[in-house]
């Protein structure tokens, strides 16, 4: 009886023999002495999980039809048991997710997480960010309120600025001349499908991270700490603690400050004949809306907004210094600090009207954005590589 199963082994482990090594890997995964900013990844997993599950429940009741969409959302709020709760998790979750996402990316920028050997982790993360932005935009159209309709109209018409093919492309994408029932149905399918695609890419992102391990923020400091701890139990508990705080903030937002979410205009059904007083995007897309508005030419605005994202993809190659942590790179520290201020300014600019003050602040912020990444970072990296002798730190070979 060669096949007999040793009674000490777990039933599942015998049948899925990779489970044990997998859990071993997760439990023993060596973690450098990272700080609290490294817990945001775990918060993001939880935030996405909540979005995914609440989204599935919403899609059971939502109707992607021009005449039914708005009422089906009201029905979820008023009549579906716990519908209001599930919907508030989903609408509040977007803001929580983007807040965590931008902090996570900010952590990566400050601590040079984008550098070798984590380029693929960084690129997969940026892909996730683009997908989230698309998903959030598509999702915002679905309730078919005034802001859904007019926001989507403004943004889809940015496509028209592409020379030559712009208008044709727009009509092709919308399925008809204007934003209507066909487009709504497409937005729903896009929104629904992207959830699953994102889930897969999150898996890839974490898989890539487990190839190289988390980076060590102390390596560039005068007193590098090369000690590691296994992921379990210390970092499991630390991540859970951070998730707990994250969920508490989440709860305060959706249970006690619901008026911060959702614009008043969106509880009015979409009316293609009546433009709302001011069309403003949600805060998490506001920076790019501000960029579109800051450039007088529509095509120019589109190019600027797209390049601001593309330049992030190039970071691993723009900054090739062996040093990671901006805390110990004076020039980079300045640049990243200015960039964070510029980013917040762009959020505010996008949420305010296009007054000359905000337009000029947007232009200044865009300048900071591009100068930091295209000039300052390569320059700092060049100088640091010249004085390489002094820095054998970092982990780049």
């Amino acid at each position: 009886m060669k096949d007999s199963i040793p009674p000490t082994r777990n039933w599942l482990d015998t049948r899925l023999p990779f489970l044990r090594p997998f859990w071993q890997h997760m439990a023993h995964f060596p973690m450098p002495p990272v700080n609290l900013l490294w817990t945001i990844g775990a918060c993001l997993i939880v935030a996405f999980g909540l979005m995914f599950v609440s989204g599935l429940f919403l899609s059971l009741h939502y109707q992607p039809d021009l005449s039914l969409a708005f009422d089906s959302v009201e029905a979820i709020e008023r009549r579906v048991p716990s519908g209001w709760l599930i919907r508030s998790i989903h609408t509040g979750g977007v803001s929580m997710l983007f807040a965590a996402l931008y902090l996570h990316v900010g952590r990566g920028l400050w601590y040079g997480s984008y550098k070798a050997p984590r380029e693929i982790v960084w690129l997969s993360g940026l892909l996730l960010m683009l997908l989230f932005m698309t998903t959030a935009f598509a999702g915002y159209v679905l309730p078919w309120g005034q802001m859904s309709y007019w926001g989507a109209t403004v943004i889809t018409h940015a496509v028209e600025a592409i020379p030559g093919i712009g208008h044709g492309l727009l009509v092709y994408l919308l399925g008809e001349d204007t934003l209507g029932g066909i487009a709504l149905h497409r937005f729903f399918i896009l929104h629904f499908t992207l959830g699953f695609i994102i889930a897969a890419i999150i898996g890839l992102h974490i898989l890539c991270l487990h190839g190289t391990g988390s980076s060590n923020p102390t390596l560039d400091s005068p007193h590098p700490d090369r000690s590691t701890r296994p992921f379990a139990p210390f970092y499991v508990v630390k991540d859970c603690l951070a998730v707990c705080v994250f969920l508490a903030l989440f709860a305060v937002l959706i249970f006690f400050l619901p008026e911060l979410l959702g614009k008043l205009d969106n509880i009015i059904p979409a009316n293609p004949l009546k433009t709302p007083a001011d069309i403003t995007p949600e805060w998490y897309l506001a920076p790019w809306f501000a960029m579109l508005r800051a450039i007088p030419s529509r095509l120019g605005g589109l190019i600027a907004a797209a390049s601001s994202l593309l330049v992030l993809f190039l970071l691993p190659w723009l900054d090739r210094s062996p040093r990671h942590n901006a805390t110990y790179r004076p020039l980079v520290r300045l640049g990243m600090g200015l960039f964070f201020i510029a980013f917040i300014t762009l959020i505010l600019a996008g949420m305010h009207g296009a007054t000359p003050l905000w337009v000029w602040l947007s232009r200044g912020s865009m300048l900071v954005w591009f100068l930091t990444f295209l000039v300052l970072l390569p320059l700092a990296a060049y100088r640091e590589r010249q004085t390489r002798d002094a820095s054998t730190q970092g982990e780049t070979p």
């Binding site: 709760l85 379990a232 210390f234 508990v237 859970c240 707990c244 305060v252 249970f255 009015i268």
Partner: protein, 245 residues
């Protein structure tokens, strides 16, 4: 290390089991905001039913407001939370040629008729008025009790009423004064004064805009307490692990 791992596991299980306690709440009675003292009539033999302001507000909406305004986003049946008798709701709906599952539609066959009947202004839908109108519930409460005699020197067009609180047309308001002293007999004995009714119907409009407010705050408190407890346990565990691993 093993035992710490087990501890973590136990903390997790405890957390999970707590989550499965289901929370069932019925919206508790909110304190009426600046409600005029509830006066009761002479005591009768039967104990009077206790009514929440929004329940009295529903009565006012049914008997007064809904003769001009719609509340399209809500169905007649949604009012079951304020009027537990389905038969009474059914009766109300049938009077308006509708069923429990129909939206509370405008009584006017068209916008033009609605305007013609109201001095040129269409009575707006009330589904979310408490949130969308400038000034919110406070405005509604004051406006409803804000009708005044026409001051000397002001002339009003026909079907126009003087209301210094109202937002439109420089106090020359197109809604005829909806509330009159004693127009409704509330089963709980509350005297139907104009400020009382303005307060109650405002509470109803707030409820219609956001029916889950009280449940939401209750669940929110429970969730936060639970997270505080869980966070405390995790914090203790984390500090323990910091020393021992």
């Amino acid at each position: 290390m093993r035992s710490c791992f087990r501890q973590t596991g136990i903390a997790f299980l405890a957390a999970l089991s707590l989550t499965s306690i289901s929370i069932t709440t019925r919206a508790e009675s909110p304190a009426p905001e600046q409600a005029p003292a509830t006066q009761t009539t002479a005591p009768t033999a039967d104990p009077l039913p206790i009514m929440r302001p929004e329940e009295r507000g529903l009565m006012i909406f049914q008997q007064v407001c809904s003769s001009c305004h719609s509340m399209e986003r809500a169905h007649y049946g949604d009012m079951i939370a304020l009027q537990p008798s389905a038969t009474a709701l059914q009766h109300w709906a049938q009077q308006r040629h509708a069923g429990l599952e129909s939206p509370i539609a405008s009584p006017y066959p068209s916008v033009a008729v609605g305007k013609a009947n109201n001095g040129g202004d269409y009575p707006p839908d009330l589904s979310h008025i408490a949130r969308t109108i400038r000034g919110g519930p406070d405005y509604i409460r004051q406006m409803l009790a804000g009708y005044r005699p026409v001051p000397p020197g002001v002339t009003l067009a026909p079907n126009t009423y003087y209301n210094p609180i109202a937002l439109t047309h420089h106090h020359k308001f197109k809604m005829r004064p909806p509330l009159h002293e004693g127009m409704i007999a509330f089963p709980d004995g509350t005297k139907a004064t104009i400020p009382q009714m303005a307060n109650d119907v405002t509470a109803f409009l707030q409820w219609a805009d956001d029916s889950h407010r009280h449940t939401r705050q209750f669940i929110g408190t429970a969730v936060l307490l639970y997270l505080a407890l869980l966070g405390g346990v995790l914090l203790a565990l984390w500090r323990l692990l910091k020393r021992t691993t």
